[in-house]
């Protein structure tokens, strides 16, 4: 055992929250291992002639032999799996079957583009959802409360690609032409210098993520506002605004973080459709193209990356939720 592992174990033994984090980490790693087996099974281990499926009926025997060689398909499946998992650690993810470039090199700029897209979305979505949810909870039957109800009844039912199409119809083509309907990005310039190309995809993602997040904040805060400590605070004459932001909100932050985590994971699915609508060169559009071309190494890498990101998001949301919620924190410590 390495010294860092010993230190980790010692810290974990002494501190209940550290113990929880370590336990949660182990569960996360085990889950990621499950997911990796599932991803490998559906891409590479599924019965059938992989090389012929990838190359199609017109492929020559030479091409098929060389693809078998490249993917190592002649070896036992278990060896192939561990070889692939080993590659995940060393960064040797194979070569794209379409471009011939190393997968890591091919998708790195796209990961960066998608990260900017999701980052900007989150920077707008989270504060907006928090403000709208809190206002709706504080003023039932007010304007914002009405908007949240409409969002939850109408917008939440629509797939992201339809929201994106409607955004294009209204803001880029038929009603007004404020922004470009596609986001063909000039890769020689930084994405931040081309903000007009970001506006519509971000807008579509914000509208798509808003209903669920706002509704959850509204429900959580409404419950807190009906609790005894809030009644007590009101009776002592504390102003309503302070009751909401200083007392109710901190107690609702744990559930809100869970919802934030779920929303972030929802966005990893949302970018697949939204990027395709706007031809935005991100990882979602890359996944769609890789699936269409049966580019197995690229599909494996992108889905594995998305699963890892999702697990990290859930882990961070869980741990922060516990650290920030007084009740849970003391329950764990006792």
């Amino acid at each position: 055992m390495t010294t860092s592992a010993i230190a980790l174990r010692r810290a974990a033994g002494e501190h209940p929250i550290a113990r929880y984090v370590v336990k949660r980490l182990i569960v996360g790693v085990v889950m990621l291992a499950f997911v990796s087996v599932a991803i490998f099974f559906f891409t590479q281990a599924l019965p059938g002639d992989v090389a012929r499926q990838v190359l199609g009926q017109s492929a020559t025997p030479d091409q098929i032999a060389s693809l078998r060689e490249q993917l190592g398909l002649d070896r036992p499946v278990v060896v192939q799996y561990f070889d692939w998992v080993g590659g995940l650690f060393t960064g040797e993810l194979g070569r794209s079957l379409t471009s011939g470039l190393p997968v890591a090199e091919a998708i790195a700029p796209r990961v960066a583009n998608s990260a900017v897209l999701v980052g900007v979305t989150v920077a707008i979505l989270f504060p907006l959802a928090l403000a709208m949810g809190a206002t709706a909870a504080a003023r039932p039957r007010g304007i914002i409360d009405g908007i949240v109800t409409v969002l939850i009844l109408l917008v939440i039912a629509l797939p992201e690609f339809i929201i994106a199409i409607l955004v294009i119809v209204i803001l880029a083509t038929n009603v007004v032409k404020l922004f470009p309907p596609t986001s063909i990005i000039d890769s020689s310039q930084p994405l931040f210098a081309q903000t007009d190309l970001l506006v519509l995809p971000v807008l579509a993602l914000v509208i798509g993520g808003l209903p669920y997040f706002t509704e959850s904040i509204r429900t959580t805060l409404r419950e807190e506002l009906m609790s005894e400590y809030v009644t007590w605070a009101r009776l002592t004459g504390i102003r309503e605004r302070r009751v909401l932001w200083r007392y109710a909100l901190p107690n609702g932050i744990g559930p809100a973080l869970q919802v934030a985590g779920t929303t972030l994971v929802y966005l990893t699915g949302g970018i697949v459709a939204v990027e395709s609508v706007f031809a935005f060169p991100g990882i979602g559009a890359a996944l769609t193209a890789a699936v269409a071309n049966r580019d197995l190494p690229t599909v494996q890498t992108i889905t594995m990356l998305m699963a890892a990101v999702a697990l990290i998001i859930y882990l961070v949301a869980d741990v922060c939720g516990i650290l920030l919620t007084p009740k849970l924190r003391s329950a764990l410590a006792s």
Partner: protein, 270 residues
């Protein structure tokens, strides 16, 4: 039935139900009344609406109205099949999860949760990479993606039943598992299963429509594919995009309003 009677005065829920039903009827009857063969080229690409073609023509010069009328049946059938199979298996898996001894249940549950990590559209894309799209693979992959999610919901409901006295009593009398499942568990989780079916039907439709839009539908002329193919002509012939958008939108929003009404009616009855 009692639940439906309670929805009688719920204008919102009924409007939603009517809206969704109208789209279902359109999809069912549509193929019979379509004025043209949806695959036939009847004019110039993106021709504007006229009396013979009330919704105009699409990117290849095909009649948009005929495509709209013919493009919903297979799509809705796939969504319904995937939902019933997925929720059915989810009920079984959830019951097993709820009745296993603690240790194996924990392990099974974390395996179940591992399958929920990826959004359903990503799972669908992953599985379709090798299998390719056909009605059969689409139904299978979407049903498969529902199972762990439904299992979670059903597990909680079943646990509530198995902790009740009447269940303990039935088990104490030596009732068989089949009896316990059909006579004790199922009648008490019907509400949960109905709501789960309505939520999953909406998600099946969303995932199927998205897959079609991305080019992974079973056919190339359902509503999702229509939107994709005609997107380039939005400024010239917007109806070719807006007609299928309206059909999908009415169905999904209607179904959501109906489900919302149903949940409230069930909650009132409980």
């Amino acid at each position: 039935m009692n639940t439906l009677r309670r929805m009688r005065h719920d204008a919102r829920g009924l409007t939603g139900g009517a809206l969704a039903l109208a789209v279902v009827l359109l999809a069912l009857v549509g193929p019979l009344v379509a004025p043209h063969d949806p695959g036939a080229f009847v004019g110039r690409p993106f021709q504007s609406p006229d009396s013979a073609h009330p919704l105009g023509l699409d990117v290849l010069g095909r009649d948009v109205l005929s495509s709209l009328l013919s493009g919903g049946l297979l799509f809705l059938a796939e969504a319904v099949a995937a939902t019933i199979i997925g929720v059915g298996l989810g009920v079984l898996a959830g019951t097993v999860l709820a009745t296993l001894p603690r240790k194996p249940a924990d392990i099974a549950l974390s395996f179940n949760d591992a399958l929920i990590v990826l959004p359903q559209i990503i799972i669908a894309l992953l599985v379709l990479t090798r299998l390719g799209s056909s009605p059969f693979t689409l139904i299978a992959v979407i049903a498969f993606a529902h199972v762990p999610q439904s299992a979670r919901v059903v597990r909680v409901a079943v646990q509530r039943v198995t902790s009740e006295g009447y269940f303990e009593a039935a088990r104490g009398f030596g009732a068989r598992w089949g009896w316990l499942f059909w006579r004790e568990i199922m009648p008490n989780i019907t509400g949960v299963v109905v709501i789960e079916l309505s939520i999953r039907l909406a998600i099946s439709s969303v995932v199927l429509a998205t897959l079609s839009y991305l080019g992974f539908g079973a056919t190339a002329d359902d509503w999702g594919s229509m939107i994709h193919q005609n997107q380039g002509g939005l400024t010239i012939q917007p109806l070719a995009v807006l007609a299928p958008v309206a059909a999908l939108g009415c169905f999904l929003v209607g179904a959501n309003l109906f489900r919302d009404g149903l949940s409230r009616a069930l909650a009132k009855g409980a």
